[in-house]
């Protein structure tokens, strides 16, 4: 499968075929339904049926280059590890040190785990957690092909992590927490598993203002990530309330510019003429660092 293949037609047809089951009704759905929806939509991507339309849309390579992954990073990981689903490059921002234990929440195809594995070296360990079996399978195969012996994956739930308290040095996550229904619980779990002095480095989608109702009702997985995103200030407050300190937004950009490509025929079809302007500035991609006290 070519990583360069445009994704719009494939995604468009996938959404039409399966109707609401792959699509962005997350805002009005019960948490269990949101998880099922996310699992299905990302399972399709993990299984190779679709590509790169969780939070970024376009070829994986193009999306990732935009997010700050260097060519050297991307060429160093196995083909297929990069699914173009991120919204930042938390591994690069996490200042990982040799020997550290890193936990990646929502590890997907394993890209961030593999980049982290290189940074922590053989004395370090990387654990990837994902709830989607197809993603786990793909990541495991990628780890084997890439010969990563210091990376392991667990199928698990971010709201109930299968990880002992105070056991990891760094938690990273890339464009995943927006999909988690109970964000307070997710940050609580991050705080719990971090060692004292341990740090969190997450890239994620947040909102600068509430989304118009029509966006939440759009029938597309394209919107699943923004429909589940929290308001920026609430997001940062939840991090603090979970017991994490020194909360610092290292990077913040208008995500509309990143994932809404005005030349994209699918977007034009879904959103129509002026609708893009409604969204501009509403969806932000942020990278947040915090420290466990």
């Amino acid at each position: 499968m070519s990583e360069e293949r445009p994704v719009v037609d494939e995604k468009g047809s996938a959404c039409r075929e399966s109707g609401a089951s792959c699509c962005g009704t997350a805002a009005g759905a019960a948490p269990a339904d949101v998880k099922a929806l996310v699992r299905e939509a990302y399972g399709r991507i993990g299984a190779g049926e679709r590509q790169g339309c969780g939070c970024g849309c376009g070829s994986a390579a193009r999306v990732s280059a935009h997010l700050g992954y260097g060519t050297a990073d991307l060429s160093a990981v196995p083909d297929g590890a990069n699914l173009g689903l991120g919204c930042g490059n938390p591994t690069a921002l996490a200042s990982l040190q040799p020997g550290e234990t890193v936990l990646d929440l929502g590890s997907g195809g394993g890209l961030d785990c593999f980049l982290a594995a290189k940074r922590v070296g053989l004395a370090g360990k990387v654990i990837g957690v994902d709830m989607t079996p197809e993603m786990i399978e793909r990541a495991r195969d990628n780890a084997q092909r890439g010969g990563y012996i210091n990376v392991e994956f667990r199928q698990g739930d971010i709201e109930a992590l299968p990880v002992a308290g105070a056991s990891v040095d760094v938690v990273i996550s890339n464009c995943v927490l927006n999909l988690v229904p109970d964000k307070a619980r997710a940050f609580g779990e991050i705080s719990r598993v971090l060692k004292p002095g341990g740090r969190m480095m997450v890239s994620d989608m947040v909102l600068s203002r509430p989304l118009p109702a029509w966006v939440k009702e759009l029938g597309s997985a394209y919107t699943a990530c923004v429909a589940g995103a929290a308001l920026r200030d609430d997001y940062l407050r939840l991090i603090r309330e979970a017991g994490l300190g020194d909360v610092d937004v290292l990077d913040e950009r208008d995500a509309a510019a990143m994932f809404v490509n005005a030349n994209d025929p699918l977007v034009s079809r879904l959103l129509g003429g002026n609708a893009l302007e409604d969204l501009r500035g509403a969806v932000l991609s942020i990278s947040v660092r915090a420290v466990k006290g």
């Binding site: 399978e137 392991e152 199928q155 739930d157 299968p162």
Partner: protein, 75 residues
């Protein structure tokens, strides 16, 4: 297959205190709630929905005395 250091920090997601799980043949068993989590193709499946309950005598072979007094208190 599972690294020893990482096995030590693997914990039961169903228990609030997140107790460790023990590797037992092809599964990971929580000594507190007796849930057994499968390992599929080398990957621990740590989802509460996918866990089975380990028979008591099997799960508590190393700590049988802990629950014994409850059953025998009428005597």
């Amino acid at each position: 297959m599972i690294d020893q250091k990482l096995l030590e920090i693997l914990a039961c997601p169903a228990c609030d205190e997140r107790p460790p799980v023990r590797l037992k043949e092809d599964r990971l068993v929580c000594s507190v709630c007796r849930r057994a989590y499968p390992i599929r193709e080398g990957i621990p499946v740590m989802l509460v929905d996918e866990a089975t309950i380990e028979p008591e005598e099997e799960a508590e072979s190393g700590a049988a005395s802990a629950s014994a007094p409850r059953d025998g208190k009428a005597a």
